[in-house]
């Protein structure tokens, strides 16, 4: 189906979860303290949250901060790598599209890019 967290009850590591909640484009997503934003998003059933230049969906690819596919806006800070940033309870995540990333390339017809959901 989609990515998920190993249930705490059956996790061999014997972890103890402390829940946290973030919002993604205004919608709540539940995670646990210690997770990366990417981990929270994935385990909340979101496989993709960013859009490439063509509008194609992107999520996590490298998982370790190399590919920049997973960029999000966190509490109004743009271009945060979701796989590297620890989630904090109450984080407000806004999804981004490549058009509005840093150094936006001119679009084919010269019009400025628009934020897409």
């Amino acid at each position: 189906m989609s990515p998920r967290r190993v249930p705490a009850g059956s996790d061999a590591t014997g972890r103890r979860d402390r829940p946290l909640r973030i919002t993604v484009d205004g919608e709540p997503a539940d995670g646990i303290a210690g997770q990366s934003l990417a981990g929270v998003l994935l385990a909340a059933g979101r496989l993709a949250w960013r859009r490439g230049p063509s509008g194609a969906a992107r999520g996590v690819f490298c998982g370790i901060g190399v590919c920049f596919d997973c960029l999000v806006t966190v509490n109004a800070e743009r271009d945060v790598r979701a796989c590297r940033r620890r989630a904090q309870d109450g984080d407000e995540v806004t999804t981004q599209s490549r058009h509005t990333d840093r150094n936006p390339p001119p679009t084919a017809d010269g019009t400025p890019g628009t934020e897409e959901r």
Partner: protein, 498 residues
């Protein structure tokens, strides 16, 4: 320079190599600043669960946990060690030509990509780089679909935060790393449909069985691989050689993967395609060293069949004075070899006696690690015919969505024959990742398409960029702040201020 003032060694990266280096440098009597952008030491191999998980049995996910745990505690608690977690080295400033010593480090401390990070500088007596590697993934149709992950991403999520990337996972590519990734997914409750090693049994066997006596020295590593293999057997996961995924398909996400049989040169055997349902695909074709910092320091590289790596001498010195390198940036040989290299580098950088018996033993085990790296490269090469599975519309540069057809056009156009011009024309490699992902592929394809051996552009061109890690303009404008425990420095050199 021969006073008894302890040397100050800055170690960048707290993976197996960096942690061993810090340990050895402290043992040699040096003062150590250990820096990692992660919150915890361990690097990729010993990726730890977050403290907030409060795990009773972290050791259950880790091979060699106890030795790692002992070393981690010893290093971090050492009175002469300053541990700087969540600290990124974003630039290295080379000394003026008339000055000696290593470059000045520029650091950012605080949450990843956060606007409120603090800036610092550091002027150590020696700089030890142990920044590791990342997965190399060759492009194929559909690799940009959500649900296609690098094998390392799947591993990092499973090991580091107990998230599995899917329930029906195919693991494909080449190299022994496919095995721990599949085992980690199985441990976390995923179903792994198959592990596909692109190289045929003949290549794999030839690489692994050459000079078998060398393998004995790597018993730890081979024993570890045997454990993963038995996990695959237990879960009845097929391990197929000479087969790979040549396409991922789906509507906005991966839904199925197409695999095909490969000849030894990785050309696709027509008619051998097979389609399997999958909600996740994990791919790796090897590792690329993170060369940004070594290149920023001015370190010379050596070119191998597996690509460029930092060149070091017998004591892990690079071509730059007082700059040392250890771990995967000098060759892909796995964690035990990274540890041995780190220990040699740390001991020497810390001012230890190069003739000490212990360091001679370490050099030997380092050399065995290097032999192991060569064996790996021979058993799991990338076949020259891999571009055969590309289509005109296949995305090559993920950031800019440059497709194969535009690269071909740019390479064949006499006006755009230089890779630099082609890069500007196609925008390949100019996106946010700054060619970290597509760089080697674009360079390789361009060379082949234009028949022009890279036009004087160094192979490592994609790594030559001034800023090793992103920094915000506000942070750049802020003056550096003093680091804790780094107040007055020993000999006369500027410290932590501008």
């Amino acid at each position: 320079m021969t006073t008894r003032v302890p040397r100050h060694v800055a170690v960048v990266g707290a993976g197996p190599a960096g942690l061993a280096a810090a340990d050895a440098a402290l043992g040699a009597g040096a003062r150590v600043t250990l820096i990692d952008s992660a919150e915890q030491p361990g690097g990729q191999y010993h990726r730890m669960l977050p403290d907030a998980y409060d795990a009773a049995h972290p050791e259950r996910l880790q091979h060699g946990w106890h030795a790692f745990d002992r070393r981690r505690r010893r290093v971090l608690a050492h009175p002469h060690c300053t541990w700087l977690p969540e600290t990124t080295v974003w630039a290295l400033e080379r000394p003026a030509p008339e000055e000696t010593g290593p470059p000045r480090l520029h650091l950012l401390r605080g949450p990843a990509d956060g606007a409120g990070r603090t800036r610092h500088t550091l002027d150590p007596d020696a700089l030890l780089l142990a920044v590791g590697a990342h997965d190399r993934v060759l492009p194929f149709p559909g690799w940009e679909l959500p649900g296609v992950f690098t094998a390392g991403a799947a591993q990092a999520l499973a090991k580091g935060e107990r998230v599995v990337v899917g329930d029906h996972v195919t693991v494909a590519g080449s190299g022994p790393f496919l095995l721990p990734v599949a085992a980690a997914l199985l441990e976390a409750g995923s179903r792994v449909s198959a592990v596909l090693e692109a190289n045929p049994p003949s290549t794999v066997a030839r690489g692994w069985s050459r000079r078998p006596w060398e393998l004995a020295a790597q018993a730890g590593k081979t024993g570890e691989l045997a454990i993963y293999t038995s996990a695959l057997l237990r879960h009845r996961v097929p391990y197929r050689t000479g087969r790979t995924v040549i396409e991922a398909r789906g509507d906005g996400r991966v839904e199925e993967v197409v695999s095909a049989r490969l000849r030894p040169d990785w050309s696709v055997v027509p008619g051998s395609e097979h389609t399997t349902a999958a909600d996740a695909l994990c791919v790796t074709h090897g590792f690329s060293p993170q060369l940004e910092l070594p290149l920023a320091a001015g370190c010379a590289l050596r070119t191998t069949a597996a690509g460029p790596f930092v060149d070091t001498d017998d004591d892990q010195r690079t071509s730059r004075p007082e700059v040392y390198a250890a771990g995967e940036i000098t060759g892909i040989a796995g964690a035990p070899a990274a540890r041995a290299e780190g220990a040699v580098a740390g001991w020497i950088a810390g001012g230890g006696d190069p003739a000490a018996p212990a360091v001679r033993r370490l050099r030997r085990s380092r050399d065995q690690g290097r032999a192991f790296a060569e064996r790996l490269a021979r058993a799991h090469p990338i076949g020259a015919a891999w571009p055969g599975w590309l289509r005109p519309e296949t995305v090559i540069c993920r950031c800019e969505e440059t497709d194969y057809a535009s690269l071909c056009r740019a390479a064949c156009d006499p006006a755009g024959a230089s890779p630099r011009v082609a890069k500007l024309a196609t925008r390949a490699g100019l996106g946010p990742c700054q060619a970290r992902v597509c760089g080697p592929t674009v360079a390789e394809l361009h060379t082949r398409l234009s028949g022009d051996p890279a036009d004087g552009l160094p192979v490592a061109g994609p790594h030559r960029r001034p800023i090793a890690q992103p920094i915000r303009l506000g942070e750049l404008a802020a003056p550096p702040e003093p680091l804790p425990h780094h107040a007055p420095r020993t000999p006369p050199k500027k410290e932590s201020s501008s």
